[in-house]
């Protein structure tokens, strides 16, 4: 009868039931259901590897398998290479993004002149940068680093510009009128105002450019996570392929949940709830 109007659900009596309907229990049930569905899917789709096959091959990739005592697995080299490129690219893209974003936010003329260009950059997919940088620099470290920088840049710029514009002139005038020193003004007005936006921009940029570095390595690489994923893909060895795919998904989800969301929540603690931050992610990256 009451399907349209939500009713207050009665508290279940036993402890297990109460845990199962708690937030954590629900999340865990979702994970278990996912694994069960994956296992079932392998019965119908023979090309999809089983979870156990993926675990086995990733164990070899991480530890070196039979050669474990002699050398490490492939996992570490590839992740080290990719993370290095990712970090350099982000450093370039982030610095450029903060500078250009501050310029767009502070000056109307700069905004009119370059904000359209930034929008176009925002509209460009990562694979376009992967192709262009490969055609410019050939195979090497430049293409992945610059792909990350180019995909990260507009997200940082747009958010920093928004942050700068959000500092109201009223507060600026007031602090001048009350004789607040420039140092204090910078710290409590400008820095406090834009930190949240800077972190938001960094978070979106990191999530989007992770895709960029993988794509770039897929098309152009001799080392790296994207390259290794492609290696298994080209070899038609789907357990290895799927294992690497899962590893880079886990990486970006963990980075977002454990680091970026927390940083952003701290910087935005005076303004937004966690759910709102999640929604921001979806609206901005999309």
């Amino acid at each position: 009868m009451t399907t349209l109007i939500q009713e207050v659900e009665p508290e279940p009596d036993s402890a297990i039931k109460r845990w199962l309907v708690s937030d954590r229990g629900a999340t865990l049930s979702a994970a278990v259901l996912f694994l069960v569905m994956w296992q079932l899917l392998t019965l119908f789709a023979p090309r999809v590897p089983t979870p156990w096959a993926v675990v086995k091959i990733m164990w070899i990739e991480v530890t070196g398998g039979d050669y474990g005592s002699v050398r490490k697995g492939e996992f570490w080299n590839h992740y080290a290479a990719t993370l290095q490129r990712y970090a350099y690219g982000l450093a370039i893209g982030f610095t450029a993004g903060v500078l250009v974003g501050a310029l767009i936010g502070a000056s109307n003329i700069a905004r009119a002149l370059i904000s359209d260009t930034v929008l176009v950059l925002l509209a460009l997919p990562a694979f376009v940068w992967a192709f262009l940088t490969t055609m410019w620099f050939g195979i090497g470290w430049q293409a992945p680093v610059l792909t990350v920088a180019f995909t990260a840049f507009p997200f940082v710029a747009v958010n920093v510009a928004q942050g700068v514009r959000a500092i109201t002139p009223d507060l600026r005038h007031m602090s001048t009128a009350f004789g607040v020193t420039p140092v204090k003004r910078f710290r409590h007005l400008i820095l406090a105002g834009i930190t949240g936006y800077v972190f938001a921009g960094l978070r979106f940029a990191m999530i989007v450019s992770w895709n960029g570095v993988l794509l770039s390595e897929w098309f152009n690489g001799q080392v790296g996570v994207g390259f290794r994923t492609r290696y298994w893909f080209d070899a038609n060895r789907y357990p290895g392929f799927l294992g690497w795919v899962i590893s880079f998904i886990i990486f970006v989800v963990a980075l977002d949940r454990l680091v970026l969301t927390k940083l952003q929540a701290r910087a935005f603690r005076w303004r937004k709830t966690n759910d709102e931050l999640d929604k921001d992610l979806l609206t901005t990256v999309g």
């Binding site: 979702a30 055609m135 392929f241 970006v252």
Partner: protein, 282 residues
């Protein structure tokens, strides 16, 4: 007033809105002219079509994409519309799939606390998975096919639609539902006349939010496995090392994405959300 920051609201109060708007258009035009000029200068400096072709060279390529190559005896009269339509149809069908998957999930999340915590993590994870994953996974499962890209677009837009529908369901006017019940409307009638009209704009907002991402992932799946489409053409010319054509297709890709987003989707959204504007103004 030159050099002073003025909001458009303040400006209209001062009666200089027209002048300000003119100045803004002038600055925008200067920005675009400057962009093309810098591109042209760089291309003269680089002096290599394989690295950075001049704007004129790219324009020639755009002409060929639309009208066919006059120097080629088997002139096919331009390949743009075939590829463009292939991409657009995939994106549209992908959204149908995304709405079909995302709406029920959104209803569950908006209605029930247990399902909200059950689905929240999967939906958020689905929202931050790299697009590469979807593009390659559908290639593994379906090979080069028509279904693959459509499903990838559906999967990528699904979390956006689910989150928006959840919000929309939460915002359905409880008073209106109670009233309908008091007046003896059936559940089916209430669903059709109260819930659907208030959730529909939110479904559409999800589509619009995920549009640019879906368009990008759609092209990416074409890069990996397709025989037609804008993404496929970019990949083909990349492999032929034909830089002018790569840039021409990228330009067309951006222009059509912005046109679809700005002029088509924003208009439809404004129409769907009109009742809310009235509500706010009234």
């Amino acid at each position: 007033m030159a050099g002073v920051l003025v909001d458009s609201a303040e400006a209209s109060a001062l009666g200089t809105a027209a002048g300000l708007r003119r100045r803004r258009y002038l600055a925008l035009a200067t920005g675009w002219v400057g962009f093309v000029a810098i591109w042209w200068l760089l291309s003269v400096w680089v002096n290599s079509d394989a690295r950075l072709p001049s704007p004129g060279r790219v324009w020639d390529e755009v002409w060929i994409i639309f009208n066919g190559d006059p120097t080629n005896s088997r002139n096919d009269g331009g390949i743009f519309w075939n590829n463009f339509l292939a991409s657009v149809i995939r994106v549209l069908l992908g959204f149908v799939v995304g709405v079909a998957m995302g709406t029920p999930l959104g209803f569950l999340m908006g209605r029930n606390r247990y399902w909200r915590s059950f689905l929240k993590s999967p939906v958020m994870i689905a929202g931050s998975i790299p697009g590469l994953t979807y593009a390659v996974m559908v290639l593994v499962v379906f090979g080069i096919s028509f279904v693959g890209p459509v499903l990838a677009i559906g999967l990528i837009s699904m979390p956006y639609i689910a989150i928006n529908v959840a919000e929309g369901v939460g915002g359905v006017d409880k008073g209106l539902l109670n009233m309908s019940r008091s007046f003896g409307r059936s559940e089916k009638q209430m669903f059709r006349d109260v819930v659907v009209p208030s959730v529909l704009p939110f479904i559409f907002a999800g589509v619009r939010l995920s549009f640019s991402l879906a368009w990008k992932v759609g092209q990416l799946t074409e890069v990996f496995g397709a025989s037609q489409g804008i993404g496929f053409q970019i990949r083909r010319n990349f492999q032929l090392f034909n830089m002018p054509a790569v840039i021409a297709w990228i330009g067309l890709f951006i222009i059509f994405m912005l046109v679809l987003e700005r002029f088509v989707l924003v208009r439809i959204e404004r129409k769907l959300f009109r009742w809310r504007q009235w509500e706010r103004e009234g």
